[in-house]
């Protein structure tokens, strides 16, 4: 049994969207998944004026400072655009085999690309990213299996190509 997952909604973000991924996450990781109270203003501290984006590495540091992380995996989900200094953007960032990860729904939303909003697609992409970053928290590397949620994705289209579940090899690595 894997250690439990706590989801922290980092406002601004759709809490309905977060609620919708709780059950599928339980199914994938076969463990407890709970949702914390939405946290306001945490992301504000990570805003970078020069990039007009939010620094995901600082956001992880901020969450480590604010949330007790013993015996738990904490994933922050936000609607703002995240980056790491060397890259133009990230969908998410995780501590490999560590307690905290963050994901952004900003670039998972088709509206950002000038397309009509697609709530179902947004749900799928958010779930896949959450499974992916939590997989890193549990110690998984990127997977060569194109269907596996741990397959690397650098564009929204990449995310759409893979599944939301873990492949047999990744499941075996986690003892599932």
């Amino acid at each position: 049994m894997l250690i439990p997952i706590r989801i922290v909604p980092l406002l601004p973000v759709s809490t309905e969207l977060i609620s919708s991924i709780v059950h599928p996450l339980r199914t994938v990781y076969q463990n407890e998944v709970s949702v914390e109270q939405p946290a306001a203003k945490i992301v504000d501290k990570t805003y970078d004026d020069s990039r007009a984006q939010f620094n995901s590495t600082l956001l992880i540091s901020e969450m480590l400072r604010r949330y007790p992380y013993e015996q738990t995996k904490i994933i922050g989900i936000t609607g703002v655009d995240l980056f790491v200094p060397i890259l133009t953007y990230v969908f998410g960032e995780a501590q490999l085999d560590g307690p905290v990860s963050v994901i952004s729904t900003y670039r998972l939303d088709d509206a950002v690309y000038g397309l009509p909003p697609d709530p179902a697609l947004l749900f799928e992409r958010t779930l896949k990213e959450a499974v992916h970053e939590l997989g890193h928290n549990y110690g998984l590397y990127h997977c060569k299996n194109f269907d596996c949620a741990m397959h690397t994705s650098t564009t929204a289209e990449d995310i759409d190509q893979k599944g939301a579940a873990l492949c047999n090899d990744c499941r075996k690595s986690l003892g599932l």
Binding site: R51, I86, L87, L96, H142, T152
Partner: protein, 449 residues
């Protein structure tokens, strides 16, 4: 992805946050990642290499990324270096690429671009490594193992071939049919600096004169009926390598002029085309004709002869190096034993004696054919005299001279012996009537034993 997971990556950047975030990014991809904050640390890590990919910041305190790139290339030419900078400048990008960088990116990097770039760099590294291994392999296997023989004559041929191989000199290989002229040409190519490029063989005697021009120079689409596509010619295909023109003595006077022009200029035009093409090739040619006689007769151009006959290698006929016959015969037995999967491994003493005494007008090619035939007929494990096709011929004396009459006498005598002096049968084989055969028997003074 499995291959990429085993790859190694070195990140050189003075900003800790860049080193940390890239290290994390690529560790999640399964890379072995190390980072260095300045040039000295990078050089120390390079010594511990090899590294597949190096991501190198251009602007660093102390030694710049461009200077470090040159040092890194001195230590490990195989590592693919991706230059990164926050301050894009065309000059520095061009300089980096000139100095051997794989590519150049500006910070911040698009993650999708970075992912593809590193994948491509690793693929490039894999291909270069593979190419290097294959080149070594080619060098290893391109010896002279295929040339069999210990006689002074064949050793002289090998020595000459290896000597001329190192140069770019045009070579003319001369020798009777079946002596192995193409094998010598391939040996010269395989031991030359051109060995990593193709050797293109053109049998000038086997291609109709009207098609030889298209064969050698290529043609454009629609150049003639049936030319549905543009086709590269042999000279174009031999770019960087060697073109082997076999049976050069059969080339028509018109093509001889064309060849002379191409050999002198290394330029040509495809049939039906206007574009003048260049190709860097070496010429090796071969003939069994007496070209000096052909020049006197006016059928071969003297100027082309001197262009081609810069360095001549004469392969002696097999009858002039009989001591090589046993070794060659055993070589072919081994070869066909493997091909036919027949457990034949030896040649009886009597059969070997016949092989050595036979004159081999078809030279090594004929010997190979005889052994191949005998392998089919033989009872394993050995080839016996009865498996050979020329029991009677070997007993014949050599002709005293090379005149047609002497050859005819020998041939008629041979056929009479093989047909046990059955005049009707012998006349049928010789395709002459019985009266003519009687006349020839009388003319040459042949007597029934």
């Amino acid at each position: 992805m499995t291959e990429i997971k085993k790859s190694s990556l070195l990140i050189v950047d003075d900003e800790p946050i860049v080193r940390e975030s890239l290290t994390k990014w690529f560790k999640q991809d399964g890379f072995r990642v190390e980072s260095a904050e300045h040039a000295n640390a990078a050089l120390k890590l390079m010594e511990k290499g090899p590294w597949d990919v190096v991501i190198l910041d251009i602007k660093m305190p102390g030694m710049s990324g461009l200077d470090l790139l040159k040092r890194l290339r001195e230590i490990d030419r195989g590592a693919q270096v991706i230059m990164a900078t926050a301050f894009a400048s065309v000059e520095s990008a061009v300089q980096a690429l000139k100095d051997g960088a794989f590519d150049y990116v500006t910070k911040p990097i698009d993650p999708d671009h970075l992912s593809h770039l590193v994948s491509n760099a690793i693929q490039q590294k894999r291909l270069e490594d593979e190419n290097s291994i294959l080149r070594e392999h080619i060098t290893e296997i391109s010896g002279v193992n295929e040339i069999v023989g210990e006689s002074p004559q064949i050793k002289r041929v090998i020595d000459l071939s290896l000597t001329v191989a190192k140069t770019d000199t045009t070579v003319m290989i001369r020798g009777e049919s079946g002596t192995g002229k193409e094998l010598i040409a391939r040996t010269i190519h395989a031991n030359s600096a051109r060995r990593y490029f193709p050797i293109i063989t053109v049998n000038c005697g086997a291609v109709a004169e009207t098609l030889l021009e298209s064969e050698l120079f290529g043609h454009e689409r629609g150049a003639f009926t049936g030319a549905q596509y543009r086709r590269k010619g042999k000279f174009e295909m031999a770019d960087g390598g060697t073109i082997f023109l076999d049976e050069i003595g059969t080339v028509s006077p018109k093509m001889q002029i064309e060849l002379l022009r191409v050999i002198e200029t290394k330029q040509f035009t495809r049939v039906g085309g206007n574009e003048v093409l260049s190709s860097d090739f070496r010429i090796i040619c071969a003939t069994n004709r007496n070209l000096e006689t052909a020049i006197k007769e006016g059928s071969f151009r003297e100027d082309l002869y001197y262009r081609l006959n810069v360095f001549s290698v004469l392969i002696p006929p097999l009858r002039e190096r009989r001591m090589d016959i046993p070794q060659l015969a055993q070589f072919f037995v081994k070869k066909y034993s493997m091909i036919m999967n027949r457990p034949v491994s030896e040649i009886s003493g009597e059969a070997m004696d016949m092989l050595v005494r036979y004159d081999w007008p078809g030279n090594v090619r004929e010997l190979e054919n005889v052994i191949e035939r005998a392998m089919v007929l033989s009872q394993p494990p050995s080839i016996r005299a009865t498996d050979l096709p020329f029991q009677n011929v070997t007993k014949l004396d050599q002709p005293k001279d090379d005149t047609l009459a002497a050859m005819e006498k020998l041939h008629v005598e041979s056929i009479l012996e093989s047909s046990k002096w059955n005049i009707t049968r012998a006349a049928e084989i010789l395709d002459i009537d019985r009266v003519t055969l009687y006349n020839k028997i009388a003319k040459y003074g042949l007597k029934k034993p």
